[in-house]
Symmetry: C2
Subunit: 337 residues, 2 copies
DNA sequence: TTGTAAGCGTTATCAC
DNA sequence: GTGATAACGCTTACAA
């Protein structure tokens, strides 16, 4: 593979001149530059990013630490959307992405910092990490620029992007209350998720705001999976037939709840109103179409990348970016009768 | 950041010894090794992959060239599934992935080979490339190990994974014929896709096999999008009410066809049977659930990575990997009346 | 405007 | 078992 040395030899100049010519420095004769560029093209030279990075101390790559990059992450397209957003912004800024593999055993022994340092990524975006993940404190302690999706960690070198999960949940409850519901249950995710905590808070705040009774036993975890949510909802609905509405901390779980309702012979939305969270693709395709709190996950990824590069270049003091969410009323909610 | 030089100084040995100790060579004293490892841990040493790659001539990374990594790629989860499969296998083999950004203007000027050479990836997996993409010949001409998804290119250093699209389509037609359909139309993708050509071939072969008439004007392109397919199907169905079944070259397009049928007041499957292709997540969630030819896209990614590493290490002569597909009968097909 | 030489952090060759 | 030293391909003082 051609190197600048080859070009230098062919052009009869030093490597210094070649380097400067190719990198657009001004202090090089127009003719020599032209000649060098010509030769570079001829011998199909492409710069060795490794060598350059080694001396320049940066790689123009940012690392991605993704938990949901597994087979069933496909159902909710959240991970994908965020990834797309990141990719879009990074691409426009000339950064490449490297996907770190944290799931498999081979890399599992390596710590977060090791992963990043070895590859010398300039920064990292972390998605889908749990509150009790040991990586989390490592992120905080290491001095690697980092932004997290939906986990509030703030620092000189780390920030996060999220949505207002409390407010989002309150929107859901308000909507349900306006429709006359008062016996509202909630299927939450799990205790290791920051968003679960927030959405529960929003649920409770919304309930008191509307003057509704909170039944703690009507708040159960569905582990963010369709199946677990279905099971949980089945029991809940069977034992408490007075429940007329359920707020779910994710659309996928809402789908599970719909299934449970179906099994119990409950009509949606006639007998039971449901509102989900996320607005995944499935939400609008399913019948009846799911009322939900929409998050712009693409934008979350996009803004995460933006924030990270700002931290990297110290061009901004900002460490937090909140994205709007929005109630999308579709067909799973109706007036309480 | 700590280097082997630092360790060497601290341990009172040469860098050579450190390097050998850390890389598990046998010709190093057990005590010195222990001491070195100890120090490495203490000063939080992590090897610089850049430096290592520079001398070793390989990076343990494989590049990803993905066309569908855009916002609407989320609806069909194909890209994501393939990516997941690749990630899984590569992770297990200690390879990291770098996502090349081909969509944005910034990188667009760079050629395929430049992209790969600059980053010094050991190999590449290409997904969603069109038949007339200039990258394609570059892939063939360059000597970078490469495997493509669903594009048949074979070479010393390049291979591909795909499914038997002809046979898959024939399965669809057979199924329809068994149900008594004879007026069968097809919504195909576009002419720049290899799979479109194959699926059309399968459609035609299936029709003659079943002794059915092929109406060339009943085969139209839907560009693999829901909307275009809906429009195409609307006209087709309106002008040719005798059509009782449509075979679609993708599930997404099948969804569009369902919409068109609905607009025309046609019941599915009563008035119109539909079979899709891919078995995306939506297919089984939509009502009525979509009969389709299922492809194991995760496996395609997994096998692509496997194949690539085999090419890389020259451990196998194989350049082609075909994955099975399977007819999944759900609710959009029924007996013709 | 151009060249010399040092240095980035490794591994590899060869000698001791 | 261990250590000099060259090499990988590039950028960057500094000198000319």
């Amino acid at each position: 593979m051609a190197t600048i040395k080859d070009i230098a030899k062919l052009a009869g100049v030093s490597v210094t001149t070649v380097s400067r010519a190719l990198n657009g420095y001004s202090d090089v004769n127009a003719d020599t530059r032209k000649r060098i560029e010509q030769i570079a093209k001829e011998i199909e030279y492409s710069p060795n990013a490794l060598a350059r990075s080694l001396v320049m101390k940066h790689t123009k790559t940012i690392g991605l630490l993704v938990s949901g990059l597994s087979r069933d992450g496909a159902k909710d397209n959240i991970v994908f959307d965020v990834l797309t957003g990141i990719n879009e912004y990074c691409g426009s800024m000339g950064y490449d992405l490297v996907l770190f593999n944290t799931t498999t055993s081979k890399q599992k022994e390596k710590t977060y910092a090791q992963l990043c340092r070895e590859r010398r990524v300039d920064g990292v975006i972390v998605q889908g990490i749990k509150k009790d993940d040991p990586y989390l404190i490592e992120i905080f302690d290491s001095n690697i620029p980092c932004v997290l999706i939906d986990v509030p960690v703030e620092n000189e070198h780390t920030g996060y992007v999220s949505t207002d999960n409390v407010d989002g949940s309150m929107k859901a409850i308000r909507h349900l209350a306006e429709l006359g519901h008062s016996n509202i249950a909630m299927i939450n995710g799990h205790d290791q998720a920051y968003v679960s905590k927030e959405r529960r808070k929003g649920f409770e705040l919304g309930m008191v705001e509307e003057g509704l009774d909170i039944h703690p036993e009507w708040i159960v975890n569905g582990e963010f999976t369709e199946l677990k949510a279905e099971e949980a909802a089945y029991q809940l609905l069977k034992n408490n037939p007075e429940i007329t509405a359920i707020f779910c901390a994710s659309d996928l779980m809402a789908l599970g709840v719909m299934r449970a309702a179906f099994d119990l012979g409950k009509k949606i939305p006639g007998d039971l109103s449901i509102v989900g969270y996320d607005d995944i693709t499935l939400a609008s395709y399913v019948t009846p179409a799911l009322t939900t709190i929409a998050q712009d996950t693409f934008r979350m990824g996009y803004e995460a990348a933006d924030l990270l590069l700002k931290i990297l270049h110290q061009t901004d003091e900002k460490r937090v970016q909140l994205i709007d969410n929005e109630l999308k009323v579709r067909k799973t909610t109706t007036r309480c009768n």
